[in-house]
Protein backbone atom coordinates (compact mmCIF):
# COMPACT_ATOMS: atom_id res chain seq x y z
CA UNK A 1 0.00 0.00 0.00
CA UNK A 2 2.96 2.29 0.62
CA UNK A 3 3.60 2.83 -3.07
CA UNK A 4 0.11 4.12 -3.69
CA UNK A 5 0.21 6.63 -0.90
CA UNK A 6 3.52 7.99 -2.14
CA UNK A 7 2.17 8.67 -5.60
CA UNK A 8 -0.99 10.13 -4.16
CA UNK A 9 1.10 12.59 -2.24
CA UNK A 10 2.94 13.58 -5.36
CA UNK A 11 -0.22 14.24 -7.32
CA UNK A 12 -1.67 16.25 -4.48
CA UNK A 13 1.42 18.37 -4.17
CA UNK A 14 1.70 19.10 -7.84
CA UNK A 15 -1.81 20.37 -7.83
CA UNK A 16 -1.22 22.77 -4.97
CA UNK A 17 2.28 23.87 -6.00
CA UNK A 18 2.65 27.65 -6.14
CA UNK A 19 6.34 28.07 -6.77
CA UNK A 20 6.80 28.94 -10.38
CA UNK A 21 9.12 26.77 -12.43
CA UNK A 22 9.30 24.97 -15.65
CA UNK A 23 7.68 21.77 -14.52
CA UNK A 24 5.95 21.55 -17.85
CA UNK A 25 8.86 19.66 -19.32
CA UNK A 26 10.08 18.32 -15.97
CA UNK A 27 13.75 18.86 -16.76
CA UNK A 28 14.77 20.91 -13.73
CA UNK A 29 14.40 24.47 -12.60
CA UNK A 30 16.51 27.62 -12.79
CA UNK A 31 18.66 26.53 -9.93
CA UNK A 32 19.63 23.21 -11.46
CA UNK A 33 20.19 24.45 -14.99
CA UNK A 34 23.64 23.48 -16.20
CA UNK A 35 24.56 21.84 -12.92
CA UNK A 36 23.48 18.30 -13.54
CA UNK A 37 25.53 15.56 -15.04
CA UNK A 38 23.21 15.14 -17.99
CA UNK A 39 21.25 18.19 -19.03
CA UNK A 40 17.63 17.88 -18.01
CA UNK A 41 18.16 14.65 -16.09
CA UNK A 42 18.83 14.02 -12.44
CA UNK A 43 21.21 11.14 -11.87
CA UNK A 44 20.87 9.65 -8.40
CA UNK A 45 23.03 6.91 -6.99
CA UNK A 46 22.16 4.34 -4.37
CA UNK A 47 23.86 1.29 -2.96
CA UNK A 48 24.36 -2.00 -4.65
CA UNK A 49 22.35 -3.66 -3.35
CA UNK A 50 20.11 -1.11 -1.67
CA UNK A 51 18.68 -2.29 1.61
CA UNK A 52 15.26 -2.13 3.14
CA UNK A 53 13.69 -0.18 4.65
CA UNK A 54 15.60 2.45 2.70
CA UNK A 55 14.75 1.02 -0.70
CA UNK A 56 12.20 -1.71 -1.01
CA UNK A 57 13.09 -4.77 -3.07
CA UNK A 58 16.35 -3.21 -4.27
CA UNK A 59 14.26 -1.27 -6.82
CA UNK A 60 14.45 2.51 -6.25
CA UNK A 61 12.53 3.21 -9.47
CA UNK A 62 9.43 1.95 -7.68
CA UNK A 63 9.71 4.92 -5.27
CA UNK A 64 9.19 2.45 -2.49
CA UNK A 65 11.32 2.76 0.58
CA UNK A 66 12.37 5.79 2.56
CA UNK A 67 15.33 6.91 0.50
CA UNK A 68 13.66 6.16 -2.80
CA UNK A 69 10.72 8.32 -1.81
CA UNK A 70 12.98 11.11 -0.55
CA UNK A 71 14.93 11.03 -3.79
CA UNK A 72 11.81 11.41 -5.89
CA UNK A 73 10.56 14.07 -3.55
CA UNK A 74 13.74 16.10 -3.97
CA UNK A 75 13.71 15.55 -7.71
CA UNK A 76 10.23 16.85 -7.91
CA UNK A 77 11.03 19.88 -5.78
CA UNK A 78 13.77 20.66 -8.26
CA UNK A 79 11.46 20.28 -11.19
CA UNK A 80 12.42 16.88 -12.51
CA UNK A 81 9.66 14.64 -13.62
CA UNK A 82 9.88 10.98 -12.69
CA UNK A 83 11.03 9.87 -16.08
CA UNK A 84 13.94 12.29 -15.89
CA UNK A 85 15.26 10.67 -12.74
CA UNK A 86 18.06 8.25 -13.62
CA UNK A 87 19.29 5.71 -11.07
CA UNK A 88 22.83 4.39 -10.92
CA UNK A 89 24.47 2.07 -8.44
CA UNK A 90 27.73 2.68 -6.65
CA UNK A 91 29.67 1.25 -3.77
CA UNK A 92 30.83 3.45 -0.96
CA UNK A 93 34.28 3.87 -2.50
CA UNK A 94 33.03 5.18 -5.80
CA UNK A 95 31.07 7.77 -3.92
CA UNK A 96 34.16 9.24 -2.30
CA UNK A 97 36.77 8.81 -5.05
CA UNK A 98 38.40 11.96 -6.33
CA UNK A 99 37.61 11.52 -10.02
CA UNK A 100 34.60 12.67 -11.97
CA UNK A 101 31.46 11.14 -10.50
CA UNK A 102 28.82 9.37 -12.47
CA UNK A 103 25.99 10.72 -10.34
CA UNK A 104 24.63 14.07 -9.26
CA UNK A 105 24.10 12.90 -5.72
CA UNK A 106 24.33 9.68 -3.84
CA UNK A 107 22.14 8.59 -0.98
CA UNK A 108 22.75 5.39 0.92
CA UNK A 109 22.67 6.27 4.61
CA UNK A 110 25.85 8.33 4.49
CA UNK A 111 26.39 9.89 7.89
CA UNK A 112 27.34 13.53 7.82
CA UNK A 113 30.62 13.97 9.68
CA UNK A 114 33.10 16.78 9.92
CA UNK A 115 35.94 14.49 8.83
CA UNK A 116 34.29 13.56 5.59
CA UNK A 117 33.45 17.10 4.67
CA UNK A 118 37.01 17.73 3.60
CA UNK A 119 36.57 15.38 0.68
CA UNK A 120 32.93 15.32 -0.27
CA UNK A 121 30.06 17.73 0.03
CA UNK A 122 26.95 16.79 1.98
CA UNK A 123 23.42 18.02 1.65
CA UNK A 124 21.36 19.03 4.65
CA UNK A 125 20.36 15.96 6.64
CA UNK A 126 17.28 14.22 5.35
CA UNK A 127 17.00 11.88 8.30
CA UNK A 128 18.33 11.59 11.83
CA UNK A 129 18.45 8.46 13.83
CA UNK A 130 20.20 6.86 16.76
CA UNK A 131 22.01 3.59 17.32
CA UNK A 132 20.48 0.31 18.36
CA UNK A 133 21.79 -3.12 19.15
CA UNK A 134 20.66 -6.43 17.73
CA UNK A 135 21.39 -9.76 19.33
CA UNK A 136 20.09 -13.29 19.23
CA UNK A 137 17.15 -13.71 21.52
CA UNK A 138 18.97 -16.36 23.53
CA UNK A 139 22.30 -14.56 23.62
CA UNK A 140 24.23 -13.04 26.46
CA UNK A 141 23.14 -9.64 25.26
CA UNK A 142 19.45 -10.24 25.67
CA UNK A 143 17.95 -8.42 28.57
CA UNK A 144 20.70 -5.88 29.00
CA UNK A 145 19.29 -2.52 29.92
CA UNK A 146 22.32 -0.38 30.47
CA UNK A 147 25.64 0.11 28.87
CA UNK A 148 27.55 -0.92 31.98
CA UNK A 149 26.05 -4.38 31.66
CA UNK A 150 27.36 -4.69 28.14
CA UNK A 151 31.08 -4.20 28.59
CA UNK A 152 31.80 -7.94 28.54
CA UNK A 153 29.89 -8.56 25.35
CA UNK A 154 31.56 -9.06 22.01
CA UNK A 155 30.28 -6.46 19.56
CA UNK A 156 30.16 -6.32 15.81
CA UNK A 157 29.48 -3.44 13.43
CA UNK A 158 29.42 -2.64 9.77
CA UNK A 159 32.49 -1.01 8.27
CA UNK A 160 32.04 2.57 7.17
CA UNK A 161 29.21 3.31 9.57
CA UNK A 162 29.20 5.52 12.64
CA UNK A 163 28.15 2.48 14.65
CA UNK A 164 31.74 1.40 15.08
CA UNK A 165 32.66 4.78 16.50
CA UNK A 166 29.70 4.50 18.79
CA UNK A 167 30.86 1.15 20.13
CA UNK A 168 34.37 2.29 20.90
CA UNK A 169 33.41 5.71 22.29
CA UNK A 170 30.17 5.08 24.11
CA UNK A 171 29.87 1.41 24.93
CA UNK A 172 33.62 0.90 25.42
CA UNK A 173 33.53 -2.90 25.57
CA UNK A 174 36.43 -4.85 27.04
CA UNK A 175 37.24 -6.62 23.79
CA UNK A 176 37.83 -5.05 20.41
CA UNK A 177 34.74 -5.14 18.23
CA UNK A 178 34.60 -7.10 14.98
CA UNK A 179 33.78 -5.32 11.75
CA UNK A 180 31.89 -6.56 8.71
CA UNK A 181 31.24 -5.40 5.20
CA UNK A 182 27.51 -5.92 5.37
CA UNK A 183 24.76 -7.42 7.46
CA UNK A 184 25.10 -10.78 5.75
CA UNK A 185 28.48 -11.17 7.37
CA UNK A 186 27.28 -9.68 10.65
CA UNK A 187 24.41 -12.10 10.67
CA UNK A 188 26.68 -15.06 10.01
CA UNK A 189 28.92 -13.94 12.85
CA UNK A 190 25.92 -13.74 15.18
CA UNK A 191 24.86 -17.20 14.16
CA UNK A 192 28.38 -18.52 14.59
CA UNK A 193 28.31 -16.93 18.06
CA UNK A 194 31.45 -15.04 17.25
CA UNK A 195 29.74 -11.85 18.40
CA UNK A 196 26.97 -11.35 20.91
CA UNK A 197 25.47 -8.23 19.41
CA UNK A 198 25.78 -5.89 16.46
CA UNK A 199 25.20 -2.17 16.48
CA UNK A 200 23.24 -0.55 13.66
CA UNK A 201 21.20 2.55 13.06
CA UNK A 202 17.75 2.01 14.48
CA UNK A 203 15.68 1.54 11.31
CA UNK A 204 18.19 -0.88 9.88
CA UNK A 205 18.39 -2.68 13.19
CA UNK A 206 14.64 -3.12 13.34
CA UNK A 207 14.44 -4.29 9.78
CA UNK A 208 17.36 -6.70 10.12
CA UNK A 209 16.05 -8.26 13.28
CA UNK A 210 12.53 -8.54 11.97
CA UNK A 211 13.28 -9.84 8.53
CA UNK A 212 16.85 -10.91 8.00
CA UNK A 213 18.27 -12.53 11.10
CA UNK A 214 16.06 -15.28 12.35
CA UNK A 215 15.84 -15.48 16.10
CA UNK A 216 17.30 -12.05 16.68
CA UNK A 217 15.76 -8.99 18.24
CA UNK A 218 16.52 -5.38 18.84
CA UNK A 219 17.69 -5.43 22.40
CA UNK A 220 17.46 -1.70 22.70
CA UNK A 221 18.15 1.72 21.24
CA UNK A 222 20.53 4.23 22.70
CA UNK A 223 19.50 7.73 23.55
CA UNK A 224 21.27 10.53 21.69
CA UNK A 225 24.52 10.97 23.55
CA UNK A 226 26.89 13.85 23.88
CA UNK A 227 29.93 11.93 22.72
CA UNK A 228 28.40 10.79 19.52
CA UNK A 229 25.57 12.91 18.31
CA UNK A 230 22.62 11.68 16.37
CA UNK A 231 23.40 9.96 13.14
CA UNK A 232 22.45 12.43 10.41
CA UNK A 233 22.09 11.06 6.93
CA UNK A 234 22.96 13.35 4.04
CA UNK A 235 23.30 13.06 0.31
CA UNK A 236 26.83 12.96 -1.00
CA UNK A 237 28.06 15.28 -3.76
CA UNK A 238 31.29 15.66 -5.55
CA UNK A 239 33.28 18.24 -3.56
CA UNK A 240 31.81 21.74 -4.06
CA UNK A 241 29.23 20.62 -6.55
CA UNK A 242 26.95 23.70 -6.89
CA UNK A 243 23.91 21.49 -7.24
CA UNK A 244 23.99 20.98 -3.49
CA UNK A 245 22.29 24.33 -2.94
CA UNK A 246 19.34 23.37 -5.07
CA UNK A 247 19.04 20.09 -3.20
CA UNK A 248 19.37 21.79 0.17
CA UNK A 249 16.62 24.15 -0.80
CA UNK A 250 14.47 21.24 -1.83
CA UNK A 251 15.16 19.40 1.41
CA UNK A 252 14.37 22.38 3.58
CA UNK A 253 11.15 22.93 1.71
CA UNK A 254 10.22 19.30 2.18
CA UNK A 255 11.10 19.51 5.84
CA UNK A 256 9.74 22.91 6.83
CA UNK A 257 7.18 23.83 4.23
CA UNK A 258 5.48 20.81 2.80
CA UNK A 259 6.31 18.44 5.71
CA UNK A 260 6.77 15.81 3.09
CA UNK A 261 9.83 14.40 4.83
CA UNK A 262 7.76 13.62 7.88
CA UNK A 263 5.11 11.91 5.87
CA UNK A 264 7.61 9.85 3.96
CA UNK A 265 9.22 8.88 7.22
CA UNK A 266 5.88 7.86 8.65
CA UNK A 267 5.10 5.81 5.61
CA UNK A 268 8.36 3.90 5.48
CA UNK A 269 9.97 4.02 8.88
CA UNK A 270 7.12 4.19 11.39
CA UNK A 271 7.29 0.46 11.91
CA UNK A 272 10.92 0.82 12.72
CA UNK A 273 11.18 3.09 15.69
CA UNK A 274 9.92 1.31 18.73
CA UNK A 275 12.51 -0.29 20.94
CA UNK A 276 13.37 -0.05 24.62
CA UNK A 277 15.86 2.67 25.43
CA UNK A 278 19.14 1.60 26.94
CA UNK A 279 20.61 3.61 29.74
CA UNK A 280 24.03 5.06 29.11
CA UNK A 281 25.27 4.38 32.63
Amino acid sequence: GGGDSASDDTVAEEATEEVVEETATGTGNDCTAGKTLAEGKLTIATGNPAYEPWVVGDAPESKEGFEAAVAYGVAEEMGFSDENVVWVRTGFDEAIQPGAKNFDFNLQQFSITEERKANVTFSEPYYSTNQAIVGLADSAAAGATKVSEMRDLKFGAQAGTTSLDFITKVIQPNTEPFVYDDNAAAKAALEAKQVDAIVLDLPTALYVSAVEIEGSKVIGQFPLSDQVGADNFGMVFDLNNPLVECVNEAISRMRDLTYELISIEETWLSGYTGAPVISLD
Binding site: G99, A100, E212
Partner: protein
Protein backbone atom coordinates in the same frame (compact mmCIF):
# COMPACT_ATOMS: atom_id res chain seq x y z
CA UNK B 1 39.57 -40.89 4.37
CA UNK B 2 39.55 -37.49 6.00
CA UNK B 3 37.24 -36.52 3.18
CA UNK B 4 34.87 -39.36 3.88
CA UNK B 5 34.85 -38.52 7.57
CA UNK B 6 34.01 -34.92 6.78
CA UNK B 7 31.23 -35.87 4.38
CA UNK B 8 29.69 -38.24 6.89
CA UNK B 9 30.12 -36.27 10.06
CA UNK B 10 29.43 -32.69 9.11
CA UNK B 11 25.73 -33.20 8.38
CA UNK B 12 25.32 -34.60 11.90
CA UNK B 13 26.66 -31.49 13.54
CA UNK B 14 24.00 -29.76 15.66
CA UNK B 15 23.62 -26.64 13.53
CA UNK B 16 24.35 -28.09 10.12
CA UNK B 17 20.92 -27.01 8.85
CA UNK B 18 21.66 -23.40 9.51
CA UNK B 19 25.05 -23.59 7.82
CA UNK B 20 23.59 -25.48 4.92
CA UNK B 21 20.96 -22.82 4.42
CA UNK B 22 23.59 -20.09 4.60
CA UNK B 23 25.98 -21.62 2.11
CA UNK B 24 24.19 -24.28 0.08
CA UNK B 25 20.65 -23.06 -0.46
CA UNK B 26 19.41 -24.66 -3.66
CA UNK B 27 16.71 -22.10 -4.46
CA UNK B 28 19.22 -19.36 -3.94
CA UNK B 29 21.58 -21.11 -6.33
CA UNK B 30 18.99 -21.36 -9.02
CA UNK B 31 18.11 -17.72 -8.54
CA UNK B 32 21.66 -16.36 -8.59
CA UNK B 33 23.14 -18.52 -11.30
CA UNK B 34 22.05 -16.57 -14.41
CA UNK B 35 23.13 -13.23 -12.94
CA UNK B 36 26.49 -14.67 -11.94
CA UNK B 37 27.16 -16.25 -15.30
CA UNK B 38 26.37 -12.92 -16.90
CA UNK B 39 28.79 -11.14 -14.61
CA UNK B 40 31.42 -13.79 -15.16
CA UNK B 41 31.64 -12.73 -18.75
CA UNK B 42 33.27 -9.50 -17.62
CA UNK B 43 35.88 -11.47 -15.68
CA UNK B 44 36.65 -13.47 -18.76
CA UNK B 45 37.08 -10.34 -20.81
CA UNK B 46 39.34 -8.58 -18.33
CA UNK B 47 41.34 -11.76 -17.89
CA UNK B 48 41.64 -12.22 -21.63
CA UNK B 49 43.09 -8.82 -22.30
CA UNK B 50 45.31 -8.47 -19.27
CA UNK B 51 46.98 -11.89 -19.49
CA UNK B 52 48.92 -11.34 -22.71
CA UNK B 53 50.00 -7.90 -21.54
CA UNK B 54 51.15 -9.34 -18.22
CA UNK B 55 53.18 -12.04 -19.88
CA UNK B 56 54.93 -9.68 -22.24
CA UNK B 57 55.67 -7.14 -19.53
CA UNK B 58 56.79 -9.80 -17.07
CA UNK B 59 59.13 -11.30 -19.61
CA UNK B 60 60.68 -7.93 -20.35
CA UNK B 61 61.20 -7.29 -16.65
CA UNK B 62 62.66 -10.73 -16.05
CA UNK B 63 65.02 -10.21 -18.98
CA UNK B 64 66.01 -6.82 -17.65
CA UNK B 65 66.77 -8.32 -14.25
CA UNK B 66 68.76 -11.02 -15.95
CA UNK B 67 70.86 -8.72 -18.08
CA UNK B 68 74.53 -9.19 -17.34
CA UNK B 69 76.37 -6.29 -18.88
CA UNK B 70 77.78 -4.12 -16.07
CA UNK B 71 76.58 -1.07 -17.99
CA UNK B 72 73.01 -2.19 -17.53
CA UNK B 73 73.14 -2.00 -13.76
CA UNK B 74 70.55 0.81 -13.58
CA UNK B 75 68.17 -1.28 -15.67
CA UNK B 76 68.54 -4.21 -13.29
CA UNK B 77 68.02 -1.99 -10.27
CA UNK B 78 64.95 -0.42 -11.84
CA UNK B 79 63.49 -3.81 -12.69
CA UNK B 80 64.11 -5.02 -9.15
CA UNK B 81 62.50 -1.90 -7.73
CA UNK B 82 59.53 -2.37 -10.03
CA UNK B 83 58.85 -5.94 -8.89
CA UNK B 84 59.36 -4.98 -5.26
CA UNK B 85 56.92 -2.12 -5.39
CA UNK B 86 54.36 -3.91 -7.52
CA UNK B 87 54.34 -6.93 -5.25
CA UNK B 88 54.76 -5.03 -2.04
CA UNK B 89 51.73 -2.78 -2.42
CA UNK B 90 48.38 -4.55 -2.01
CA UNK B 91 46.53 -5.05 -5.29
CA UNK B 92 43.55 -3.27 -3.78
CA UNK B 93 45.56 -0.14 -3.38
CA UNK B 94 46.82 -0.23 -6.96
CA UNK B 95 43.26 -0.63 -8.09
CA UNK B 96 42.15 2.37 -6.05
CA UNK B 97 45.19 4.42 -6.90
CA UNK B 98 45.22 3.76 -10.60
CA UNK B 99 41.53 3.10 -11.05
CA UNK B 100 40.34 6.19 -9.18
CA UNK B 101 43.53 8.22 -9.10
CA UNK B 102 44.44 8.38 -12.75
CA UNK B 103 40.95 9.13 -14.05
CA UNK B 104 40.68 11.49 -11.10
CA UNK B 105 43.41 13.58 -12.66
CA UNK B 106 40.82 14.84 -15.08
CA UNK B 107 40.51 12.36 -17.90
CA UNK B 108 37.24 12.47 -19.76
CA UNK B 109 35.09 9.58 -20.75
CA UNK B 110 35.88 7.06 -22.22
CA UNK B 111 39.49 7.47 -21.08
CA UNK B 112 38.53 7.46 -17.43
CA UNK B 113 36.92 4.04 -17.68
CA UNK B 114 37.42 2.05 -14.48
CA UNK B 115 37.62 -1.06 -16.63
CA UNK B 116 40.58 0.36 -18.47
CA UNK B 117 42.45 1.63 -15.45
CA UNK B 118 41.49 -1.30 -13.26
CA UNK B 119 42.98 -3.61 -15.86
CA UNK B 120 46.10 -1.48 -16.00
CA UNK B 121 46.45 -1.79 -12.24
CA UNK B 122 46.08 -5.56 -12.43
CA UNK B 123 48.59 -5.74 -15.24
CA UNK B 124 51.09 -3.73 -13.25
CA UNK B 125 50.85 -5.87 -10.14
CA UNK B 126 50.77 -9.22 -11.82
CA UNK B 127 53.63 -8.46 -14.15
CA UNK B 128 55.70 -8.08 -10.98
CA UNK B 129 54.72 -11.53 -9.77
CA UNK B 130 55.04 -13.28 -13.10
CA UNK B 131 58.41 -11.63 -13.74
CA UNK B 132 59.77 -13.26 -10.60
CA UNK B 133 58.53 -16.63 -11.74
CA UNK B 134 60.22 -16.21 -15.10
CA UNK B 135 63.39 -15.09 -13.37
CA UNK B 136 63.48 -18.21 -11.23
CA UNK B 137 63.07 -20.33 -14.35
CA UNK B 138 65.77 -18.48 -16.23
CA UNK B 139 68.21 -18.69 -13.37
CA UNK B 140 67.65 -22.40 -12.97
CA UNK B 141 68.95 -23.21 -16.45
CA UNK B 142 72.52 -24.39 -16.07
CA UNK B 143 75.19 -21.96 -17.12
CA UNK B 144 76.71 -24.51 -19.48
CA UNK B 145 73.62 -24.20 -21.66
CA UNK B 146 74.32 -20.55 -22.28
CA UNK B 147 77.97 -21.29 -22.87
CA UNK B 148 77.05 -23.86 -25.50
CA UNK B 149 74.60 -21.59 -27.25
CA UNK B 150 76.85 -18.54 -27.24
CA UNK B 151 79.78 -20.62 -28.45
CA UNK B 152 77.73 -21.55 -31.50
CA UNK B 153 77.47 -17.86 -32.32
CA UNK B 154 73.92 -17.32 -31.13
CA UNK B 155 73.46 -13.79 -29.84
CA UNK B 156 72.45 -13.37 -26.24
CA UNK B 157 68.89 -12.65 -27.37
CA UNK B 158 68.80 -15.79 -29.50
CA UNK B 159 70.30 -17.80 -26.67
CA UNK B 160 67.56 -16.54 -24.40
CA UNK B 161 64.85 -17.22 -26.91
CA UNK B 162 65.80 -20.64 -28.21
CA UNK B 163 67.81 -22.22 -25.44
CA UNK B 164 67.20 -20.64 -22.05
CA UNK B 165 63.56 -19.57 -22.12
CA UNK B 166 62.07 -22.81 -23.42
CA UNK B 167 63.78 -24.72 -20.64
CA UNK B 168 62.97 -22.02 -18.10
CA UNK B 169 59.27 -21.87 -18.90
CA UNK B 170 58.92 -25.63 -18.77
CA UNK B 171 60.28 -25.60 -15.26
CA UNK B 172 57.92 -22.97 -13.95
CA UNK B 173 54.64 -24.07 -15.47
CA UNK B 174 53.03 -24.80 -12.07
CA UNK B 175 53.87 -21.43 -10.50
CA UNK B 176 52.77 -19.71 -13.71
CA UNK B 177 49.45 -21.50 -13.43
CA UNK B 178 49.31 -20.35 -9.82
CA UNK B 179 49.55 -16.78 -10.94
CA UNK B 180 47.02 -17.21 -13.71
CA UNK B 181 44.56 -18.76 -11.31
CA UNK B 182 44.97 -15.99 -8.79
CA UNK B 183 44.80 -13.34 -11.48
CA UNK B 184 41.52 -14.84 -12.56
CA UNK B 185 40.26 -14.24 -9.08
CA UNK B 186 41.85 -10.87 -8.50
CA UNK B 187 40.05 -9.65 -11.58
CA UNK B 188 37.26 -9.42 -9.03
CA UNK B 189 39.03 -6.53 -7.37
CA UNK B 190 38.30 -4.35 -10.38
CA UNK B 191 34.77 -4.38 -9.08
CA UNK B 192 35.96 -2.26 -6.15
CA UNK B 193 36.00 0.68 -8.50
CA UNK B 194 32.68 0.04 -10.13
CA UNK B 195 32.31 -2.62 -12.79
CA UNK B 196 30.24 -5.52 -11.60
CA UNK B 197 31.90 -8.84 -12.17
CA UNK B 198 31.04 -12.18 -10.75
CA UNK B 199 32.37 -11.86 -7.20
CA UNK B 200 30.84 -8.43 -6.83
CA UNK B 201 27.58 -9.78 -8.15
CA UNK B 202 27.87 -12.59 -5.66
CA UNK B 203 28.58 -10.02 -2.95
CA UNK B 204 25.51 -8.05 -3.98
CA UNK B 205 23.36 -11.14 -3.92
CA UNK B 206 24.91 -12.18 -0.64
CA UNK B 207 24.10 -8.82 0.91
CA UNK B 208 20.66 -8.76 -0.60
CA UNK B 209 19.62 -12.19 0.57
CA UNK B 210 21.92 -12.35 3.60
CA UNK B 211 23.06 -15.69 2.32
CA UNK B 212 26.49 -16.86 1.18
CA UNK B 213 25.23 -19.29 -1.43
CA UNK B 214 25.96 -16.92 -4.32
CA UNK B 215 29.64 -17.11 -3.42
CA UNK B 216 29.48 -20.86 -3.57
CA UNK B 217 27.90 -20.65 -7.00
CA UNK B 218 30.60 -18.23 -8.10
CA UNK B 219 33.24 -20.60 -6.80
CA UNK B 220 31.69 -23.45 -8.74
CA UNK B 221 31.79 -21.37 -11.88
CA UNK B 222 35.46 -20.60 -11.27
CA UNK B 223 36.18 -24.25 -10.66
CA UNK B 224 34.38 -25.26 -13.81
CA UNK B 225 36.86 -23.14 -15.72
CA UNK B 226 40.09 -23.61 -13.81
CA UNK B 227 40.04 -27.33 -13.18
CA UNK B 228 39.81 -28.44 -16.80
CA UNK B 229 42.43 -25.86 -17.73
CA UNK B 230 44.92 -26.87 -15.05
CA UNK B 231 44.37 -30.57 -15.69
CA UNK B 232 45.00 -30.08 -19.39
CA UNK B 233 48.12 -27.98 -18.87
CA UNK B 234 49.44 -30.46 -16.39
CA UNK B 235 48.83 -33.34 -18.70
CA UNK B 236 50.61 -31.63 -21.59
CA UNK B 237 53.45 -30.61 -19.34
CA UNK B 238 54.01 -34.07 -17.95
CA UNK B 239 53.81 -35.59 -21.41
CA UNK B 240 56.44 -33.19 -22.69
CA UNK B 241 58.67 -34.00 -19.73
CA UNK B 242 58.33 -37.73 -20.27
CA UNK B 243 58.97 -37.37 -23.98
CA UNK B 244 62.28 -35.56 -23.58
CA UNK B 245 63.64 -37.16 -20.43
CA UNK B 246 65.73 -40.24 -19.79
CA UNK B 247 64.82 -43.06 -17.46
CA UNK B 248 62.93 -42.03 -14.32
CA UNK B 249 64.03 -43.71 -11.15
CA UNK B 250 60.96 -45.67 -10.21
CA UNK B 251 61.39 -46.28 -6.53
Amino acid sequence: MVLVAVVLLVPRMPRWDRVKKSFFDVDQMRDSFPRLIDAFWLDVKIFAWTTPAIFVLALLIALARNSRSPALFPLRALAAAYTDVMRGVPVILWIYLVGFGVPGLGLERPYNSPLLWGSVALGMTYSGYVAEVFRAGIDSVHESQRAAARSLGLSSAQTMRFVVLPQAVRRVVPPLLNDLVSLQKDVALVSLIGPIEILRQAGIDKAKFANFTPYVVAALIFLAVTIPLTRLTDYLWQRERRRTSGTRVAA
